[in-house]
């Protein structure tokens, strides 16, 4: 399982087509992966387990999201005003 993830991460070039977000507006795709990465981090850290599986979500949101959005959301998470549920 972990080897598959590492293989996928090695092969990663950019965010692949995600059928959940088929249209031109990819905002939801970026948002969803940003949330999933941080939720994954929170959940796996709580269990004390290796967080490598979370890397996939990080790669995808880094590929898709505008840098300004990432900076804004990271800032909001730092001062506790992030509106999303992590």
């Amino acid at each position: 399982m972990a080897e598959d993830i590492k293989a996928k991460l090695d092969q990663y070039r950019t965010a692949p087509f995600d059928a959940r977000f088929p249209n031109q507006n990819q905002t939801r795709n970026c948002w969803s992966n940003y949330l999933d990465y941080h939720r994954c981090q929170k959940a796996l850290n709580a269990k004390g387990v290796d967080t490598t599986p979370c890397e996939w979500y990080r790669r995808v949101y880094k590929s898709l999201c505008p840098i300004g959005w990432i900076e804004k959301w990271d800032g909001q998470r730092d001062d506790g005003s992030f509106p999303g549920k992590i």
Partner: protein, 261 residues
């Protein structure tokens, strides 16, 4: 002595359309002046002129119809069409605000937390005061129908009682909403939730006040014996308007208060 050879009403020249138009100009430009130069004089003048226009124009219509007999069946039919078209235009007015609400709530943006209600908004419990408000307006729909039947059956005292009860229920709704507005944990400035909530319910409340006023005028006219059992279109128009206000509330309740919580 020349008499008209038709049943229609050729209205005498009247200054009220002009004063109405002038008041509209004063209110709109007054609004701009208020926003830029802090003075409410022009806008208040426009408002006063509007109230005077409405009072005198509708007083004249009552004189023409009730006292001078100009409201023949075809004339009344025209008035019916007019009221129906006006209410239809109001339906479209509210449709816009419902469109805005659904636009924002069906696909909530990341700024809101991707959810509806947005993060940080504590909504009102739809089964508390809003449910009472629903009951109040539905009851007032019953009482206004009771009033209509009383008028048609020539039951003067019952007509006065049921019409008065309808108006009281309208005031009760307004008082309850005012209290809800005062006690609400969110304001109009709280993102798109606040905007859609207060603009939609706010315009509805304004229409409740307008409807209550219309019904009060009907109550006064009924006291003064203006209505007959066959001819009481002013009352019917008020009742149609009141039912429209009730229906808008039902849509507001289901969409914003219940689904939107």
């Amino acid at each position: 002595m020349a008499h008209q050879a038709h049943a229609y009403h050729m209205v005498d020249p009247s200054p009220w359309p002009l004063t109405g138009a002038v008041s509209a100009l004063l209110m709109t430009s007054g609004l701009a002046i208020w926003m830029h130069f802090h003075s409410t004089t022009l806008m208040s003048l426009g408002l006063v002129l509007l109230l005077l226009t409405m009072y005198q124009w509708w007083r004249d219509i009552i004189r023409e119809g009730t006292f001078q007999g100009h409201h023949t069946p075809p004339v009344q039919k025209g008035l019916r069409y007019g009221m129906i078209l006006f209410i239809t235009s109001e339906v479209f007015f509210f449709l816009g605000f419902f469109w805005a609400f659904y636009h924002s709530s069906l696909a909530p943006t990341p700024e809101l937390g991707g959810c509806w209600p947005p993060t940080g908004i504590t909504t009102l419990n739809p089964f508390e005061v809003p449910l009472l408000n629903t009951a109040v307006l539905l009851a007032s729909g019953v009482t206004v129908t009771w009033a209509h039947h009383s008028i048609m059956e020539g039951q003067r005292k019952q007509a006065l009682q049921s019409l008065a009860l309808t108006i009281l229920l309208g005031f009760y709704f307004t008082a309850l909403q005012a209290m809800e507005y005062y006690e609400a944990p969110f304001t109009i400035a709280d993102g798109v939730y606040g905007s859609t909530f207060f603009v939609a319910t706010g315009f509805h409340g304004l229409h409740v006040i307008i409807g209550s006023t219309f019904l009060t005028v009907c109550l006064l006219r009924q006291m003064l014996h203006h209505f007959t059992s066959e001819h009481h279109f002013g009352f019917e128009a008020a009742a149609w308007y009141w039912h429209f206000v009730d229906v808008v509330w039902l849509f507001l309740y289901i969409s914003i208060y219940w689904w939107g919580s």
